[in-house]
């Protein structure tokens, strides 16, 4: 179950301020890094909502993001539609794709769910990879950023684009937090804990899981729209299963089921990647070892571990009070 605790709010605000400062005082390269963090963080939040709350460890989140990015790019760059309707179409495509995957896989669990989502993700990847009209494995360019000049924002300025990205990250977080606090989110957690009991309570668990995937697809789609507008170019790399694997690493590194954790995880992973590649070519091995260590250390992740210690510390003083939150599940 999700609670927006004080620790989470403080960490979220601190992370956003850190990213804003890093972008504002850093070079152009620093802003590129921050946008990379934003995209990965939104994707990881979307995955956390499935894996952390619904127990659905999906390996097709990269594909969900990619479908939105391709949908947006096809409508705007290939068919010449205006940008905002194109983005809506892209998001809609991601929601439909994720909902379908969620519906088809709604009766599988554990390793079978992982494999099934892997298959559907790779199917989407192969589709775009093989499509000649969409440039195959080279992808295609010609994408433009939102025109916000009427409210005085020049999106082609890297700093303005980074700020917009941060706002979307906050929106994605807020939206996910609200949904996870609602009856819908509580029911999803219930299905995770005991699916049979939720069925006995009269919940259509299959449909509920599919809806959760569809919503997750919407959030992942936001990351896809930013990714397409960031590089002004799109390629099937977005959809490949290792992108989903990277998002999963971020979720675990930060803290599963916390929503703030994925943001922390994304910051850590991207910064580590760039710092290590300054010294050595072999950052993959380092990330791999960090991942193995995180799982062996209990799998709580960095933020999860801090929260665990914090709760232990505060519970010594007030052993009976639980974190507050509205329960209407």
């Amino acid at each position: 179950m999700f609670y927006q605790t004080k620790l989470r709010s403080i960490t979220l605000i601190a992370a956003l301020i850190f990213l804003a400062c890093y972008a504002s005082f850093g070079s152009y390269f620093a802003r590129e890094i921050v946008v990379e963090i934003i995209i990965l963080a939104i994707l990881a939040i979307s995955l956390d909502l499935c894996a952390g709350f619904g127990g659905m460890v999906s390996l097709c989140h990269g594909a969900m993001m990619g479908v939105a990015a391709y949908g947006f790019a096809i409508m705007s760059a290939k068919l010449g539609w205006p940008l905002f309707p194109s983005a809506l179409i892209g998001l809609f495509a991601a929601v439909v794709f994720s909902g379908l995957v969620g519906w088809v896989t709604s009766r599988t669990n554990g390793i079978f769910f992982i494999m099934a989502t892997l298959a559907f993700g790779q199917m989407a990847y192969t589709f775009f990879f093989k499509s000649r009209w969409l440039g195959g494995d080279d992808g295609f360019g010609g994408i433009s950023r939102f025109d916000l000049s009427m409210i005085g924002l020049e999106t082609n300025d890297s700093l303005v684009f980074t700020y917009i990205g941060l706002v979307i990250l906050l929106l994605a977080y807020g939206l996910t937090a609200i949904v996870m606090r609602s009856g819908f989110g509580r029911t999803l957690s219930g299905i995770h804990v005991n699916e049979d009991r939720m069925k006995a309570l009269g919940v259509n668990t299959a449909a509920h899981r599919a809806k959760a995937m569809a919503f997750s697809g919407f959030i992942a789609g936001l990351a896809g729209i930013i990714a397409a507008q960031h590089t002004l170019y799109i390629s099937p790399e977005l959809l490949i299963w290792t992108t989903s694997g990277e998002a999963l690493i971020v979720v675990i590194l930060g803290g599963l089921g916390t929503l703030v954790g994925p943001i922390i995880g994304a910051i850590l992973l991207v910064l580590m990647k760039h710092e290590i590649s300054n010294y050595t070519d072999y950052w993959h091995a380092f990330i791999g070892l960090v991942l193995i260590f995180t799982v062996l250390a209990g799998g709580r992740g960095v933020f999860g571990q801090i929260e665990y210690w914090f709760n232990k510390l505060t519970q010594k003083h007030q052993s009976t009070t639980k974190p507050h939150g509205d329960d209407h599940a």
Partner: protein, 288 residues
Amino acid sequence: MDLSFWILQFLNAMQYSMLLFLLSIGLTVIFGLLHFVNLAHASLYMMGAYIGISVAAMTGSFWAAFFLAPMFVTLIGAVLYFTLIDRMRTAGPMNQVLVTFGLIFVFLDLVRMGWGDIALGLDGPASLSGTTRLLGVDYPAYRLFIIALGLGVMATMWLVLARTQIGAMIRASVENTNMAAALGINVSKLFFLVFCFGCALAGLAGVAAAPILSATTTMGITILIPTLIVVVIGGLGSLEGAIVGSVIIGFMETFGAVMIPSFSAVLTYALLAVVLIWRPQGLIPARG
């Protein structure tokens, strides 16, 4: 397209199927017994190829590589078993996927450190360098050797599983681990032996594939997905499932690439999707 063309494609499909079989059989038996999903299985396959290349370079003999590389890979597998696999057995599929995903990264960079980024080739044995005339077509003898190797491993495994005491112990443990342990089978020793055997087969597949495919840093990731699909389609933990699955995928990918090139890549994933919806336990499940 005449008959000899189809015979050629048939042999290609057989050869690919056997390679998939060598990999998936280890993966599936490990899952059936240990309930462990080892994504790094394909990394061991890659290690088999690279170690084989080094051994062949040092000794000058393909056969030395062919026998020694699986042994080295088994050693790596044994180290992995005691450091990671054994303690991850009860950690749930997500943690297993994550840890072995981390291992893929580690092995990837180990290979890049040890052998570099360039694709390396391995010369097959001189005795198998020519072509053999079979069913009216000239087919490379080495590829026929891989088909024979796969069939040989298949027959041996069937004999061992169906006819020997250790086979009976493995089957009993797959069926019900606790009951097998209660009957006096040393289950943890069996786990270790089976894991090592699976690793040896992965190494064997790697060194056997090196003369055909040449060793690259991406070869593990490339073969991982078809191998996982074979295992899931056949039924996790099932020997017969691994045979049926690898033949289906091997033939579908080979003939699909010839007959419907634009659609062939999606075909395998579509098949997996259909199987997962229609029979999530696989075509030939391990437990009846």
